[in-house]
Structure formats: C-alpha cells, structure tokens
C-alpha cells in the first residue's frame, strides 16, 4: 500500500497551507492591527494543522462493529452465492 506516513502527510499539508497568495487579503473587514503576511501565513498553517487534527480524530475513533459484520455477511453471500 502506498499511503503517505502521517509525518509525510503533515509536511504536505503544512506546505499546502503555507502557500498563501497575497493578491487577495483575507477578510475585507478592518485588519485588526494590520495582519502581516507572515501572520496570514501562520494562520493558514494553524488552520491546516487543525483541519488535519479534526480529520484524524475521526480516523482514530473505534470503528463500529457493524462495518465488519456487514463485510462478513457479504463475504459469506459471495462464497455461497455462486459468484466467482
């Protein structure tokens, strides 16, 4: 299987979120204290880390037994149901 390790993924994610482009300043409201580009970059990175964390939190949940039960039943069906 060719899954990226979580470290690799994290680096990739961090890279995605640090590619801020400045053509369009975030937020049209008054930039409180004039958020610098560096700050914007940090914010994007922070959001990226949180996003990854949010996803991983679900990935790390225990899978309900239902999933394996369903798969087991399907397996039984296909082994007596004359498939290949």
């Amino acid at each position: 299987m060719a899954f990226a390790t979580s470290q690799q993924s994290f680096v990739r994610v961090a890279a995605v979120f640090s590619m801020t482009d400045n053509s369009d300043p975030p937020g049209k409201g008054p930039p409180k204290g004039g958020a610098s580009l560096e700050e914007a970059r940090l914010r994007q990175q922070a959001i990226g880390v949180k996003l990854r964390h949010m996803f991983d939190e679900i990935v790390n949940e225990q899978v309900p037994d239902e999933f394996l039960d369903i798969l087991r039943r399907a397996d039984e069906r296909s082994s007596d149901g004359g498939g290949k």
Binding site: M1, D24, D75
Partner: protein
Amino acid sequence: MSGASTPPPKPASADDNAFKRELVALIPHLRAFARTLTGDPTAADDLAQDAMMKAWDARASYQMGTNMKAWTFMILRNQFYSEKRRSWRQSQLDQEAAERTLVAVDDPESPVALDELRLALATLPEEQREALILVGAGGFAYEEAAAICQCAVGTVKSRVSRARKALQATLEKGGYARDGRAAGDAMRSILAAADRLSSVRQA
C-alpha cells in the same frame, strides 16, 4: 446478524482476502471523509457502509497495487452525490447539521477551536470543502484529489485556494455566531491549539 457462528462455507480467494484486508484498513478513513461530506455522524456511517459494500461488490474491477484509498473515496463521493440528488432534503449541509456533529463528537478533551473550525467548514461551498478536506486533511496530492472528484487538477487547486481564504476570513470575521463569542477568539484559539499540536507532532 445474530445468527449461527458457522464459518464461511468456502474459503475466499487470496485476492479477495487481500482486498478485504485493505478495505478494512480504509474504513476509518472512509468514515472520516463521509462525516465531512454529510456533517452528520449517523448519515456518515450509513454512507461509509454503502461505499464499503459498493467497493466490495466492485472488487473485480479494482487493480491490486493501485491506489485503493483514492478508489474507495471516489466510490464514496459518487454515492454521496447520487443519494443527494435523490433527496433534496439533505441537499444542504447547513448550520444545523454542523451543530448536530458538534454534539455527536462532543468530547471534553476537544479544544473549542475544533468546533469553530467545523462550523466554519460547514459554511464553505460543498466542492470547496471536499477539495480542502482531501488535500488538506486526507493527505491526497492534487492529482489524486482531482481523480476522486473527477475534475481537472487546476480546478482542485483553485477550490483549495478559495476554501483556505474563505475559511480564514470566516474564522477571523465570524461569519457565524455562536455562544456570543467573538470571531477573534476563534482564530486565537486555533492558533494556540495549532501550536500545541504541531509541537506534539514534531516531538
């Protein structure tokens, strides 16, 4: 279901077994992707189970050794959109669904910032949200995300970019209101939590 505990009558083929092992390993990821699409844990597990079964039924068309994660994600996504077309009722992932998710995954350990992020995500257009999740959280390359969404790589790139900007703007301006908390607090708590998380990861 609660039936006899007899083993399957015939042993499955080696390919089937290998396929099944990989599929089982992907279940947590399918659940996570489904939850970000539906915003509702119960609907998400139904969707993930349907996708899992579709993948199992289609196993003959899968080439072992290719990217099974991307393949199953594409199946799940197609399933999600075809179900959605059938029922208008669920056509919007709205604030309400996001709130239900909050309740369902409520965990005293989970920092406030995470809830804010979920709400902000729910305000994104669907195609931006899924692109951002695939690339930003699922660990897919742009090319893989494009294959999953069946669109051009450039389209994925621009969706991810727009999603990032919109998310940041929402978190800073508070495009939503919750518990009367100021939007600046959301961004501040995200920054603080991210610091903590990244120092843990790098350790």
